[in-house]
């Protein structure tokens, strides 16, 4: 992990992992991880809209508060901490459709 990594992309990776690992018993974890991964895919592909960031944050709080077990409660942590420390990277993806680190596919689409 260094300054060449794209934080929304890292968060997307962890969310995909948690979606695969979710057992599917409780709704916030089963469908919450799926929807959060969807939103992160939209952000990293440069197709996100300004409201998506608030929705993602709201969804993460729901997962943290209402999930049945530790997996669902911990699943939003990578998103929440990257949102806290690297919010500008998320905003750059949404505002300009451009990945500041040059990692995400949105730049390939534009080229």
């Amino acid at each position: 992990m260094n300054d060449k990594r794209c934080m929304p992309d890292v968060a997307h990776f962890f969310m995909r992992f948690c979606q695969d690992e979710s057992c599917g018993k409780c709704v916030p974890c089963r469908t919450g991880t799926q929807q959060a991964a969807c939103l992160l895919a939209r952000i990293t592909s440069g197709a996100a809209e300004p409201g998506d960031l608030d929705q993602l944050e709201e969804l993460c709080h729901l997962m943290r508060d209402c999930s049945l077990c530790g997996l669902g409660m911990a699943a939003p942590n990578p998103v929440l901490s990257t949102l806290h420390w690297f919010r500008d990277e998320y905003e750059a993806h949404i505002r300009t459709g451009h990945c500041p680190s040059g990692v995400c596919s949105c730049d390939e689409d534009a080229a």
């Binding site: 979606q19 979710s22 709704v27 916030p28 089963r30 469908t31 929807q35 729901l62």
Partner: protein, 234 residues
């Protein structure tokens, strides 16, 4: 029977020791919405719709599986739990294909009435709508996985009340599917007795009776059935 006293929404309530918060609230006509729980079945706490706030606990707790304790202070309709319930029901609508106008259980569905009750008129999330299977191999009933919310009422009612354990869940996460026996067609199941309890227990149109649009959903005498079954022994 020992009793405990607790406060629900500012009202002092007496409950039997061992009762869940949901039972305690129901006993004094305080309504807590829920989807996966059915009286007489083991609580699952999977739908998370019955979450309530308990003073002194950082997170909301599910009312169906939390025991009522002496001196508890419970709030069932704070802004926080109301918005969480709303989001959970929206997530369920987005997860699979829940198109009410073309559903056999339209106007007779617990998910639909819950959405109405919570004032949901639109879904903020991406509709995933995976193409799930429909199994109509059983003589009288059918199962449409597109309408299934994975509440596992059918699994529990078949195991705990009927004692057949035909239903179970395969896969995990969003790939979970309710299966009969070892993922065989329902009609080919050797354990299914065809009693139809799962169809009555299903809160949505996932399990339906063929050719009938007015299936009576919701088993009212489930607890009595369970008592009768326990009296008879295994």
């Amino acid at each position: 029977m020992k009793r405990v006293s607790l406060t629900i929404n500012g009202r002092t309530v007496i409950a039997r020791q061992g009762d869940s918060l949901l039972q305690a609230a129901r006993a004094c006509d305080i309504h807590i919405p829920n989807l996966c729980h059915l009286n007489g079945l083991t609580p699952l706490a999977g739908c998370r719709v019955c979450i309530v706030e308990v003073q002194g606990r950082p997170r909301p707790v599910p009312a169906c599986s939390s025991k009522a304790e002496h001196g508890m202070v419970v709030i069932t309709d704070s802004e926080r739990v109301r918005s969480a319930r709303r989001m959970i029901v929206e997530l369920l609508f987005a997860e699979r294909n829940h198109q009410c106008p073309v559903c056999v259980m339209n106007n007779n569905c617990e998910l639909q009435s819950l959405a109405k009750q919570l004032g949901i008129d639109h879904v903020r999330y991406t509709f995933i709508s995976p193409l799930a299977a429909v199994d109509i191999s059983q003589e009288r009933f059918g199962i449409d996985h597109n309408r299934c919310i994975l509440c596992r009422r059918c699994v529990r009612v078949c195991d705990e009340i009927e004692g057949a354990h035909t239903w179970d869940v395969s896969g995990r996460g969003v790939a979970s599917r309710v299966i009969s026996d070892l993922a065989e067609p329902w009609g080919a199941s050797s354990t299914c007795t065809g009693c139809g309890k799962c169809v009555q227990a299903c809160p949505t149109g996932a399990l339906f009776e063929k050719g009938i649009t007015t299936t009576r959903k919701g088993l009212t005498c489930l607890e009595r059935l369970l008592k009768w079954r326990r009296r008879r022994g295994p």
